[in-house]
């Protein structure tokens, strides 16, 4: 039942995962590397931003940067997970904690609605989570093959897959200027930091500025 509920989200998830596969291929990942990352990290936006900032070599510092990126991008899951407390009330920890690995925004939103309508079966979140995970991992393969087949990414516009995708994701997030201070400040601080400091600092500055400015959003 939980698995069926996520059907409307699957085309969007597949499109996102294909874009990830394309970018991973462009970064020189093998297909196995691509699938291991997507199946274990399992956080679309964080994977994309990590790939955009992928280090040339792995050092303690460069791995720490990757960890900081995915932590920042996924901070919101602290809140998302917290809202599942009442849904899992009375469930044993050995069932709840593995299920939380598959927690993502679509099955979370659907579970909240299911719970609001009186649903109490904890397997609902799990069913949707398994369906999304399978589609997410499998659809990275055609994206990878398409990306790996292309020589010069600029010629086919593939270097702009991520910015184009992100621009599309910003559209439904727009709720008028008084409720969008967070990302206006984030964009401005990121551009300023890029001009002044270079490197990956723009991301840290932009995200922190956006996070702080978010406090002034209207409800």
């Amino acid at each position: 039942m939980g698995a069926m509920s996520v059907l409307p989200f699957l085309p969007g998830i597949a499109a996102f995962s294909m874009a990830y596969g394309t970018v991973a291929a462009r970064q020189g990942f093998s297909l196995a590397d691509t699938l291991v990352m997507t199946g274990t990290v399992y956080a679309g936006l964080a994977q994309m931003i990590a790939l955009e900032n992928w280090p040339r070599e792995f050092t303690a510092a460069s791995i720490l940067v990757l960890v900081a990126i995915v932590a920042l991008v996924n901070l919101r899951y602290l809140l998302i997970g917290a809202t599942m407390r009442s849904f899992f009330a009375g469930e044993p920890a050995h069932k709840v904690y593995p299920t939380l690995f598959l927690l993502s925004e679509p099955n979370w939103l659907l579970t909240l609605r299911y719970q609001a309508n009186g649903g109490r079966d904890p397997a609902y979140l799990l069913g949707g989570g398994v369906a999304i995970w399978i589609v997410w991992v499998v659809t990275a393969i055609p994206g990878y093959l398409a990306g790996a087949a292309v020589g010069d990414p600029q010629r086919f516009g593939l270097d702009l897959v991520v910015p184009a995708f992100f621009a599309a994701m910003l559209v439904p997030l727009w709720r008028g200027p008084r409720r969008s201070f967070g990302w206006i400040a984030g964009a401005a601080a990121a551009v300023a930091a890029q001009q002044l400091l270079g490197g990956f600092w723009y991301l840290i500055f932009g995200v922190v500025a956006g996070f702080l400015a978010g406090a002034f959003n209207d409800d």
Partner: protein, 103 residues
Amino acid sequence: MIEKDPLGFLTAIAAMAIVVYLMRAGGYWLIGRVTIGPRLRRMFDALPGAIIAATVAPAMLQGGLRAVLAVGAAAAVMIVLRNDFAAVVAGVAVAAGAFALGM
């Protein structure tokens, strides 16, 4: 680089996977131990948009007119069709066209 350092790659992936899982499970675990007020909630709500904007804005500045046109096309298609796949296709097509025109 990845072929040369499989151990580094796996370490990076494992570290990222663990941190992401800690975010997923940590909030569930923490709740009841801390209270999240309306201000902090607004800040967390603003995070995804801030992250996306902080990634896109510098990319547009660095990519010049070609990137601005491609990202603009993706946003325009999204506003009209509300379909992220069509938006990405439009953005990539404009980027490829602009490259062909020498941008």
